[in-house]
Subunit: 402 residues, 4 copies
């Protein structure tokens, strides 16, 4: 029996996704919920002996005052999820983990996200360098106080506005000196990524924000011999696209248009109501189809904030295609899923797999995690089943090696 | 340039599927339509040098007076498909092929199908043996008069009632003598299958009827060194099931229930309005999901005849599943496809691939055709992408051998 | 300020509808919920000074052991409705009202309903007469012990199989002597109706069961100077039909077909899984459209039990219609509603309005309640807006008289 | 038997709506189509003896080269509507009516609409005054050459950008002198309206463009003793809203949000792709719900151009509402209608009713036409059934007077 303890450090810890991941770890540890929806609970992964829920300690950065328990309560009340029995049984764990929460940074986050911040103790970093140091102090402290063998950092915070990278972001050599500059040369998400990778911690970007998706940070990961993955968790509509588009290819149907309208009402939705932040999201959602089919049908993706839906995202997709002898036909789907419930378990899957890879001594981008992301780092493949096959091959290779 | 000529013999030739296959061959030959929706037109199949549309001659059995042209006209008028330009350009081919039509047999077809028969020249076979001989005469005559190197027989007729097979159907030795008995020991579809296989012709069963799906007929195919495949073309709702169910497996979501309601208004629908005939169809549609996920969620499949829809089939599917921490979520899809347009090209794909296999000297059940069928002979796999991978492997093996 | 106290006696009290009605009364009385969805809370009804929730006492017959609190708990747990805060605040009321529950009768209910019975104290009436007397004793006892000025009886029990009425049911004179016969000349629902009307109590049939829908019972109501109404509460799909069909009439579009598939998973669904019981329901659901449009488009209604849906009913409707110059077009809707939540408030509306009518001295069938029912007694009109106008006129007439 | 001849003058004559109206008149006259979808063919209108299709002559203004026949052919080919038999039978009428087409004006139309113009003979009016005179010459010429007793002018052209009216538009006295100014004080649609009303012709605005919706033009209609109506034909999604929203009121359900996404691919869609033009449309679509329910639920309306859909508009609406005890429920609908087919017959209805009103000597805004419009002039009522009741009352009053 192992007694290793590992840490899951969440950036934007007390959003719906982070709180659900934390609650899930607690619920699985206490046996009050089963492992449905945890990909790494599939028999496929047994040979990997991934870290068990009981081995995890949770901490994180947060710019709001809310703790895990408050978010869980809000999700219960507003979105009608989490049976009282599950939430009640886990209050103690959530409370304990709340003591691991630290104030996040706002430097480079943009005004829409900054408006969410309501903690009085938010640090006022004025350079990227000082912000990174502050983050690293928090991470080191978490690791030491909890006697953790490994810590994985996962970004589950709100989506930033798109950030254009330039020549300066191409190498560590050019980017490092710029960390002293004002304004900072990186958005908030990338400061966290830098902090984590620089400490040799695995880093996963579950959001469409920039995070570690720039050459200089991949270089940093390699230098520090750690692993990274991202970006933007594939939870609902885009998952469906990556499942259905391959069917059209194999049946040689011609896609004419693919329209996707998404409505939802959680905090992520509020942030996405800012057109700048929304642009990041739509960008990653909209490339999947043409990438799979090899041509560019007309596509349309909208994401709109509808308050009454809370954490429930409804996606309507209208797919128009041409079949034999020029006949046009239609497939529509309506997806009604709960965002946190969909994303939470994937965060745990990614954390477990990243910790495993780092333990094995892998370095750099974890390409085999592509099936978890809308915009997988280092991978052009968007076909969900081909992506999943990459994960299967990874496991098989490991098994063969052992 | 090849000058081989091959024959496509359709059982139930002038139904929507048969007429669309015939029209499609003509349209492709004349270049008035492109190859959208023809799976075998994908680049994957180029190395196989399959028979081109121009090489095909069409004939078939039919129990109704309607010819290809009348069915095409009806589909145009009632279902609003086939642009006049396409149909007009192909009249001559269709007319020529109509001269290859022969009266079908009713022996063993059941009363609902028999009610459709309106030809005055239908033969009155009284034993299976005599019916088979009659069919074989027609097939030989077709081959000789048209100087065809190969003929493939495809069943596209209306769905029969389920037929329970017993010990007598286990071997040729036991079944052959029974061909003289009254009532016949086989349903109509199997008499056609016998006739084709016994002549060494490839046989494809595109319907849920029994056809060649009994041990004695597989044995006959092996004796006569020919190939066979089936059963029940996977065109719409079931295709979707075989595409979506694997997603639920890989995401470790638990299917709670999967409800599918199908409405359509073509002749197949009229036949399926007879509960006996419908039972065959629902049986093959309903096994796909549990076979893929490995357990039995509650499933419901209905097929109903709605006159106004003509050849357009609308399928509504409601998929209820359990995600993380016990939360139930929903996926619904609405498929609006034209049955003949979906099925017609698959008939051509299957004909081309079966002729190819026979030419190569393969014998027995063509397992690599599984992705085309709701209930693939000799294959337990229902996951569409795994089935398609079998087809890809088949081509790759061939390419490697060459 | 009034101090009148009135009783609501529910037949099948602790099913989802009854329990929701009881919880609703308690929640409104205690001010822990607002009056959304209560039709009689609309400003229109202010002049009527209907009985307030605080004036009601609840009781009822039940054949199962479950009380109001258990059903409320089950609905919370299985169907995810009723916020804990609301249910908790009302426990005391529900407990007090449970002491007013009495064992129901099974005589004439059919085997599917009888299978639900699990109380050990169910009376074993052997004739209609003795069953009626037993019910009347319970009703009198309820009224006296609670000092109620009026008691309204509402049938919210499971749907019975259709019961064909004959000449014997045409008059009290012929039916009364038959009450001694075995088997009884009436189904269970009608025994309750007889009992109520014979005591001069208002009776409302919220189900498709026979209840008071026979001439002899209407005659009884008139003799005893009381009122009655029914039948089959119009809560979801049928409400939509009665709202949408009038649009097709006014736009002169021709309905070609109207297909409605309903899936749900509550106890009512289990009972409706028996084809005999289902027949009653489909009959009342299927007449609405042709009655409104004046001709008979092809219609199809299915109701299927899907366990995972619990009390949530999903209805998919596919409406195919012909517009200008013969063009066919389609409207589809998907209704996702919670059965008890939809029905519960209507029970309260009907109880309030029936008590009011009786107080005013009205006698016989309450035709102005048509908008509440799928199959309104004494009214041919199914257009929801015309039905609602009847209710508005009723109120206006009253106001004018005052 | 009457031998009166009347004229229908269409602005934007050869768009889908205009061409369908013209084809419809011809088809009805020749008896090759029935009157389905013509509201004025309902028995209700019999007493009015409205002008019959055979009495109509069609003409109009158009800025494109296309004639009725070309548009009809395009709609046949691209959108798969109009059976060849109907279109063929009417070629002669359409050709004859094409000789009544005159070049439209571009003054004040905005660049998006101007880009559609491809006629070489478009007049180059430089003031509103000169444009109006030109239009009036065309109208007079049409009336005289065809010996028409009455001419009704209907605007079915593409939607203009919103035009803000100011104090100058409040009276004829202030607006008339401004007609000489550059830029003109009115958008194109209002120049046509002025021209028609000033000649004493009835004017109907079937679009969301300004048209006659300003006090000065209502004043002009009154001076010239003619009638006018508008604006923006209620054909699909908005019709549904005006039918469904009243249900929510009467059942006392609280609307939380109403989201409507519209996709379609005709020329109107291309014009609406310009955000300025789209703004006019969304404005009239978005007010209906809050006007009916009396409060402001969150609403969202999108209209997007999807090329492959041609004239078929698909609208998905997601309606989220609160029922009893705070439970949220959902209604979704999907409307798949053909724009021209929906709008064309309403143009004929409005023309017939406007001609009738003028004949009777009515003057000013025709309020009883509210049920035909998204944004009815002079009427606050948006409830479709109440609007239709206004039309019924109009007819009843007439019948009573006779």
């Amino acid at each position: 029996m192992t007694t290793r303890r590992v840490g899951l450090w969440l950036i934007g810890a007390c959003g719906g996704v982070g709180a659900t991941a934390a609650l899930g770890l607690a619920a699985l540890s206490r046996g009050v919920s089963d492992s449905t929806s945890l990909v790494t609970a599939l028999p496929l992964f047994e040979p990997l002996s991934l870290d068990e829920p009981t081995q995890f300690v949770v901490g994180g950065h947060e710019i709001r005052r809310a703790g895990f328990r408050q978010t869980v309560r809000e999700l219960q009340k507003r979105s009608n999820i989490f049976e009282p029995a599950i939430a009640d049984a886990c209050q103690e764990d959530l409370e304990r983990w709340e003591s691991n929460l630290r104030p996040g940074i706002l430097l480079g986050s943009g005004s829409t996200i900054a408006r969410l911040a309501d903690r009085s103790d938010l640090p006022n970093s004025d350079t990227a360098r000082s912000a990174i140091e502050r983050i690293q102090n928090d991470l080191r402290d978490f690791r030491e106080r909890n006697k953790l063998e490994q810590v994985v950092v996962v970004n589950v915070s709100s989506t930033e506005a798109p950030f254009e990278i330039g020549p300066i972001h191409e190498s560590l050599e050019r980017l490092t000196p710029a960390l002293e500059r004002r304004p900072p040369p990186l958005p908030t998400s990338s400061l966290y990524a830098w902090a984590a990778l620089d400490l040799g911690l695995p880093y996963i970007n579950f959001t469409p924000s920039l995070g570690a998706s720039l050459p200089a940070l991949v270089e940093l990961a390699q230098q520090r011999r750690t692993v990274l993955g991202g970006q933007d968790g594939k939870t609902g509509e885009t998952l469906m696209k990556s499942v259905l588009a391959p069917m059209f290819v194999r049946r040689n149907w011609q896609l004419l248009s693919w329209v996707g309208h998404n409505i939802f009402g959680n905090r992520d939705g509020q942030v996405l109501d800012d057109p700048a932040n929304k642009a990041s999201k739509i960008r990653t959602k909209d490339q999947v189809i043409s990438s799979i089919v090899g041509y560019k049908p007309q596509t349309l993706v909208s994401i709109e904030y509808i308050d009454s839906l809370d954490d429930w995202k409804t996606a309507w997709n209208h797919i128009h295609f041409k079949g034999f002898l020029g006949t046009k036909m239609t497939l529509q789907f309506i997806w009604q899923g709960c965002d946190s419930i969909l994303a939470g378990p994937l965060v745990l899957d990614l954390a477990r797999l990243a910790l495993f890879s780092q333990r094995r001594g892998e370095v750099g981008v974890l390409r085999h995690l592509a099936c978890f992301f809308k915009n997988p780092m280092g991978v052009q493949e968007h076909d969900f089943f081909k992506q999943f096959a990459m994960l299967e091959e990874y496991v098989e290779e490991y098994v063969t090696q052992c």
